[in-house]
Amino acid sequence: MSEFDSAIAIFSQEAAELLSEMEKALLLLESDPNNSEIINSLFRAMHTIKGSSGLFGFAAIVSFTHEAESVLDQVRKGERQIDAELISVLLDSKDHTAMLIDHCLTDNQAPLPEELQSAGLKLIERLCGPRETSLQVSAQTGGKLVAEGGVELSIDDSWLILLDFQTDAFRNGIDPLSFIHYLKTHGEIKQILTITPTMPSGEAMDPENCYLHFKIAFVSAASKKTIESIFEFAADDCEIKILPPNSKIQEYLDLMQSLDTNQVTRLGEMLVEVGALTQNDVNQALKSQQLAQACEAETAKPLGEILVAQNAIQQPVVEQALKIQELNKQKQASEANFIRVDATKLGLLINLVGELVTSSAAMNLIVERYGLSDADDIATNMNSLVNNIRDTALELRMVQIGETFSRFRRVVRDVSKDLNKNIELYIKGGETELDKTVVEKINDPLMHLIRNSLDHGIESPAERIAAGKSPQGSLQLTAFHQSGHVVIQIDDDGAGLNSEKIVAKAIANGLIKPDHGLSKQEIYNLIFSAGLSTKDQATNLSGRGVGMDVVKRNIDELRGTVSIDSVEGQGVSITIQLPLTLAIIDGFMVSTGEERYIIPLDRVVECVELEPSEYEINFVEHYINLRGEVLPYLRLGDYFQQRDSNHNKRESIVVIRTGKTKVGLVVDELHGEYQTVIKPLGKVFENLKGIAGATILGDGNVALILDVQMLFQMAIKKRNKAGKYIKNVASGNAG
């Protein structure tokens, strides 16, 4: 790859990231149109794309992004108001930019296709349209504070001290007069207002309560901290606010500029460092922020806003501090935080770590076999190091699912517009991390499920109102970790599944027989079978009955599971369980005969001895009554090795679980935990049921990794064959 090509590759990747960020920002802006941070990021995105396109001579991109950039600049300066119209134009502009980039990257020499050109012109027109009617934002208020009573306190060169004494101040031996006396020793009181805004009239006034508030303009060279310390003694009985003089503000701003820019400090910390705030101010503001969060009545305000509202500091200082904070963040983000690494290099590393895990297992085996007690310590130490390396290496590939989720915002927005529905997407747990390869592969199934929900699930506003629901439908995407798995849930509050329709369709398609005897849950899961759609009319979005089976297959390929639950009329909830990673797992090794098998450890619930005298076991119908719980079980030896089970031998049963159901696997021997590097099986074994892969053991032998999901079905099938009796017992004991 020549240098130019690699530069182009970086450009395209960067532009794609910027554009996806821009889309996210625009969608955020819909709910929060005045957030200057978002507007700034939009501007930066356009600006950066314009700049780098210029470097490569992509004139078409430059001329278009220039227009978008200048509009965003107007917004940023407050000359233009952001509204729904502008947001959707900007969204279109973003798409257009992406197309332009595509065009330039594929063939920069070719002239711009006509439709792109005209679309661009149209967009520019829409972008620049209401330029004349732009709004002018009023100038900032000058350096005056108006006190109640109409007297203006000029604070140009004096501190403004606000003292609001609490009612108990006198009783606690505080005499405000003496503090003001003392204050005089530190500087000159230019102006003082004594007011009693809270004093009741008549009998209600308790002369032993303190109702006094003071506003003092104070000229002094002392620092904020010194001034605050004057009132330290009264701090418990008095709300003290000290605003720096305007002349000081400049000083703070200068100081902030000179702060170490290589560190992102917290807003409060930064302001304390330059002396604009004292630790006390910050603590108080944080406390009220926490309080607001705890109440949840209103969304907690950012710290800066609270500080300004508390009169602890002036707006410009906070703004400047925020700006610097943002700058530092960006600097860090661009400089230190990320190194772009080729994904194949990472893959190689992970493979090597896999080999390392295997050979460390081999070493342990040797150490154990020859009883090398000297090497024991070293082996243990190395083992834990290998474990750490394994975890860290796998973590390298972990990405947050949030980005994938937020891509669906656009989908939901566009689709609901197309369908004239009003649907809000809620995202929870976007910070949940999982393997990048898993994230990539889960994207399509998720897209499919979401489109399904949007199209079939959530009704039109009219239907919703008729059903007594709010006209706005909601779709929630949730991700969280659960015992070594990532769980992704898609919940909608739509019409839900109609089990009768599904059954009718399934019977018509020959999937089940009329006397199916399936539970509701099982019926719902039928929609994952091929060729089943309950939508009467197929639309261009979904409903052709292909897809759900593909979804299921894709998820199966990831060694995940998908299940669906629904309450008719109230919505559908789809739960996808995925393994955290595809490369290395913690396994539980068992053996039957000579063969060794690995069960994913997180599936194992417990192991008990298969002891007929202790548990009621039905050897014919393959179930065991385990402390009142009826479990179907499967003999691994019978299943894989076709041997006839020998009931005289000592055996164990491993109870495994997926979701809420459990089954038992009967094995000869338990070997315990084993770090398992998953090696995919070749094409020949692709159709082997019950095996998900293989791993190489320390002694060079191969162990098969069990596909728990599949074994489950086999076990349950066996149980079903075994007759109705068990079914009744099982359902009687379920839950």
């Binding site: 006198f170 005089k184 004594t194 009693t196 009239s201 308790d206 002369p207 303190c210 109702y211 006094l212």
Partner: protein, 110 residues
């Protein structure tokens, strides 16, 4: 009693406060003074005898002023003693009460 009635003419009262006006006397003084507020039209308070005044005392005077205003009583403070003037000056209250303050020559020297 630290408050004595100096003159009384139907609804015109002149009171004199003697001794301290502090948190220790505030409750008693408030009750006594408030009683008068209920009946008078004009009230003069002689502060000449106030030997000490603290925030509670100041607050009490501010309360009287506020009450008088709401009841349309003409309240005037007269003969401010040295401690009262000092406190008024410190808190910039002379303007608030609006009463002329006599400053006698001997204070300046002290």
């Amino acid at each position: 009693m630290v408050i004595e009635v100096k003159k009384q003419k139907k609804t015109d009262f002149q009171l004199a406060i003697k001794g301290e006006m502090t948190i220790y006397t505030a409750l008693e003084q408030k009750q006594a003074l408030y009683k008068h507020l209920l009946s008078v039209k004009t009230l003069q308070i002689d502060l000449g005898g106030v030997t000490e005044i603290d925030s509670a005392g100041i607050q009490l005077l501010m309360f009287l002023k506020q009450e008088a205003e709401s009841r349309q009583i003409k309240l005037s403070l007269i003969e401010h003693s040295h401690p009262v003037v000092e406190a008024f000056e410190l808190l910039n209250l002379s303007h608030h009460f609006g009463d002329p303050i006599m400053i006698s020559a001997e204070w300046k020297s002290s």
